[in-house]
């Protein structure tokens, strides 16, 4: 698609992308939000959503105990019902990667990857040396997925080459040891045109996933933003035959929101993206609501929130 990745060439390429009409994109997202997902399709969607959750804790107050607790939840989200699938990954800061990896391995969660946020998450305001070290620490501690942030300052001032080069270098560090998710922080990019440009920039630079947000900035994973990113991976596939994943994160707190995301995936990118290899949802509170709704479908009534575990 593009062989010359110099600043000028990237700029020229991004200019060839069609613009996004914000009114139209919002209308399309709103229309898809009216889809009514019931009974068997709801049951399927809930289990699919659970398997797509990147169960996340990204707080200054994180402790080894807290991380071990979410690892237990990740492997067996509902200890009373073993038909509930495990989640997609556990997502932590890089100093907790080792704790998470060990905890998961101990309790039968060897297949669940640990994702680490990196490159001076969430702001990305640090020297490249710090970002590289951040990334290497996570990989060395056993992270199989790196969630890096782009330099939004560079992007907004038009230094696309800088953004691109940084992603390329982090991708090299990841090598075949870790998948790279690139966080665009769409709440700071603001326009859907920027979301489209940043999506392409990340995909061209080697992202395995493009991710909406850090969860530290609002708005985060709004439906129109996810729509535009899904269009980007769909069109990138038709150009390159490579499927890039999408990860909305931030603000998806209940089952209804999660199912709306799956409808977007189904009708925009296509059913090929409806699996945890190509779609993840970054969330923490969401998982318990999915479990409550799953119980409701099974039992016919809503259980008390006391029946799901708080970890």
């Amino acid at each position: 698609m593009i062989t010359d990745t110099s600043e000028g060439s990237l700029k020229a390429f991004l200019k060839t992308l069609p613009q996004v009409d914000e009114v139209g994109a919002n209308a399309r997202a709103a229309m898809l939000a009216t889809r009514s997902i019931k009974t068997s399709s709801k049951a399927w969607a809930i289990d699919m959503a659970i398997s797509m959750v990147d169960l996340t804790t990204l707080e200054g107050a994180d402790t080894p105990g807290k991380v071990r607790a979410i690892c237990a939840k990740a492997v067996r989200p509902d200890a009373t019902d073993l038909s509930v699938p495990s989640v997609g990954a556990v997502c932590v800061y890089n100093d907790m990667v080792g704790v998470a990896r060990t905890a998961l391995d101990l309790i039968g969660g060897a297949a669940i990857p640990v994702a680490a946020v990196a490159t001076a998450f969430p702001s990305g305001r640090a020297s490249y040396a710090v970002k590289a070290q951040d990334t290497m620490d996570a990989i060395n501690a056993g992270a199989a997925e790196i969630d890096m942030v782009i330099d939004r300052g560079a992007f907004l001032s038009g230094r696309y080459g800088e953004v691109f080069d940084e992603i390329v270098k982090i991708k090299e560090l990841c090598g075949d040891k870790a998948h790279l998710k690139v966080i665009l922080e769409t709440g700071e990019l603001v326009t859907l045109d920027n979301v489209r440009k940043a999506s392409y920039l990340a995909m061209l630079a080697g992202a395995d996933f493009i991710k909406t947000s850090t969860g530290k900035v609002t708005p985060a994973a709004t439906a129109p933003v996810v729509l535009v990113m899904l269009e980007a991976v769909r069109d990138y596939y038709s150009m390159t035959q490579t499927r890039i994943g999408v990860k909305p994160a931030g603000g998806i707190r209940n089952t209804k929101d999660a199912i709306k995301q799956l409808v977007l995936v189904n009708e925009v990118a296509g059913p090929e993206w409806l699996n945890p290899q190509l779609f993840r949802i970054g969330a923490s509170a969401l998982l318990n609501d999915l479990l409550l709704q799953r119980m409701k479908l099974r039992d016919g009534y809503y259980a008390s929130p006391s029946y799901v575990t708080l970890d």
């Binding site: 069609p18 613009q19 996004v20 009409d21 009114v23 139209g24 994109a25 209308a27 399309r28 009216t34 889809r35 009514s36 997902i37 019931k38 009974t39 068997s40 399709s41 709801k42 399927w44 969607a45 699919m48 269009e231 769909r234 038709s238 799956l262 409808v263 189904n266 009708e267 296509g270 059913p271 409806l274």
Partner: protein, 480 residues
């Protein structure tokens, strides 16, 4: 289940009580027709009879016109304008309260998806009453002089594609301007008009201000030819519009005619392509393409033709055709066997004239009237499918090379109802819009309706405007 297949999500029909038979609504009461005749109305999604509806003959129409005349001279014209406005507000609020009931009934009788009747038809119908309620006591600002006067008794004949919405487009401005009404809904979609008659009773609208007579073309002709009618407002085919114009020639009757269209939807190469594709889909597949202003001719700039078509086909594969009561249905049933036959005839002509047909892959239900969303590529201006109104989910794709050529092709039609322009370049949008000979031009959107916006056609698409300030003028005469 290995794929995300949406389970049926059916809207309940429990909210609607459909009677076995419906009478005429004349002078505030439901009365048996003098004709003694009733005809069946069916659900086009399963061909089952929903109810029997009275067939008004000329005696029935005469009674309705007398009732309207009586109500006009004795009650409605004597009422202070603000009081008229109150009735309209009351009707608007009742429509909102009973919106779900209207939406379900509309979907049953018409075949359109519940998503559209629920989210578009009925909310817009209520909006028209709200909008015109506000006008009732401000008519001196309608642009028809200081003391505009109503016509008197207005005969209104509406089509089957948006039964309740077209009723609102007709009745709301007529009442706001002080006219009384004899309205005939289309024979395949009478039920929401008859439910509206109930709303008139509920709102305690004075008897005879709104009269609803049901029937087919002959009943319509009786209204048009009745000497007691002061003005005709008609929405329907250009063919019938011409007949009406001929019938009323030489009489004092006024007329507004909202007729057919063959709208050009112009996509320039600097358009927001993904949203333009949505606009194409919305332009032609909204309401199964039973839309007079549908974007039925896609004019796409030749250098992006392949890209747009590829994306359009991917998008069309996601269109969900099926039970109109399913909340996830995008495209419902064709309204009647006759309309389906007309669509099929033109589609066959398209193929035999050399255009290439592509239909979205979808299973058509066995009962009822259905047509898969279809596009024709390689269409030229001389093809019938580029000239005649198909009034179905069928899109003709043509190309152009320069903006000038787009304008030439867009205007090269006897119609002139609507058009769409897609470009992210503002100056180009304005340049194009000012050269298109059409009554409504949408920029970077399509099929957007608002009661404040006048709607109507150039050339054989009609006379006069409906909606907005311009629409009021169609129901008012300047006083001497």
């Amino acid at each position: 289940m290995s794929q995300f297949e949406y389970a049926p999500a059916l809207e309940s029909t429990a909210i609607v009580n459909i009677a076995e038979r419906y009478n005429l609504f004349i002078n505030g009461k439901f009365v048996t027709p003098k004709s003694g005749k009733y005809f069946p109305t069916i659900n086009p999604a399963n061909e089952k009879v929903l109810a029997k509806v009275a067939e008004a003959n000329s005696t029935d129409v005469d009674l309705a016109v007398q009732a309207a005349r009586n109500a006009y001279s004795k009650v409605w014209s004597k009422l202070p304008a603000a009081e008229r406005g109150k009735y309209l507000f009351r009707i608007a609020r009742i429509l909102q309260e009973r919106a779900r009931e209207f939406a379900v009934l509309e979907t049953l009788d018409n075949g359109k998806p519940i998503r559209e009747s629920r989210d578009t038809d009925i909310p817009l119908a209520a909006a028209h009453f709200f909008y015109h309620a506000g006008w009732a006591d401000k008519l001196q600002y309608a642009g028809v002089g200081d003391q505009p006067k109503p016509y008197g008794v207005v005969g209104q004949i509406i089509p089957w594609n948006f039964p309740m919405l077209m009723l609102a487009w007709k009745v709301a401005p007529a009442l706001a301007t002080g006219n009384t009404v004899v309205l005939k809904p289309a024979e395949t979609t009478s039920l929401t008009a008859l439910l509206f008659a109930e709303v008139c009773q509920q709102a305690e609208l004075p008897a005879g201000v709104v009269n609803i007579v049901t029937g087919a073309g002959a009943t319509g002709a009786d209204i048009v030819n009745h000497p007691g009618i002061d003005k005709i407002a008609f929405t329907g085919s250009t063919e019938v519009g011409k007949l009406i114009a001929t019938s009323i020639a030489g009489t004092k009757k006024g007329a507004t005619l909202e007729l057919g269209g063959k709208a050009a939807n112009i996509i320039f190469d600097d358009a927001a392509i993904d949203e333009a594709v949505e606009g194409i889909v919305n332009g032609i597949f909204f309401n199964q393409g039973h839309v007079c202003c549908a974007g039925s001719r896609l004019l796409v700039q030749e250098n992006i033709h392949d890209e747009v078509l590829e994306k359009l086909k991917v998008r069309m594969a996601h269109i969900r055709l099926g039970n109109p009561l399913d909340k996830n249905t995008d495209i419902g049933a064709i309204n009647s066997a006759a309309q389906l036959a007309k669509i099929k005839e033109l589609v066959t002509a398209g193929g035999s004239e050399g255009a290439e047909q592509w239909s979205a892959p979808c299973n058509l239900p066995e009962e009822g009237f259905w047509f898969a969303p279809t596009i024709f590529t390689g269409v030229s201006q001389t093809h019938r499918i580029a000239r005649e109104e198909i009034f179905g989910p069928v899109l003709s794709v043509l190309t152009f090379r320069t903006p000038q050529e787009a304008i030439e092709k867009a205007n090269n039609t006897p119609y002139g109802l609507s058009a769409g322009v897609w470009s992210e370049k503002g100056s180009k949008v304005l340049w194009t819009a000012s050269r298109l000979r059409a009554g409504v031009i949408w920029a970077n959107t399509f099929n957007k309706f608002d009661p404040a916006s006048p709607f109507g056609g150039y050339k054989e698409s009609g006379w006069g405007r409906e909606g907005g300030r311009h629409g009021l003028a169609a129901y008012l005469k300047a006083s001497n």
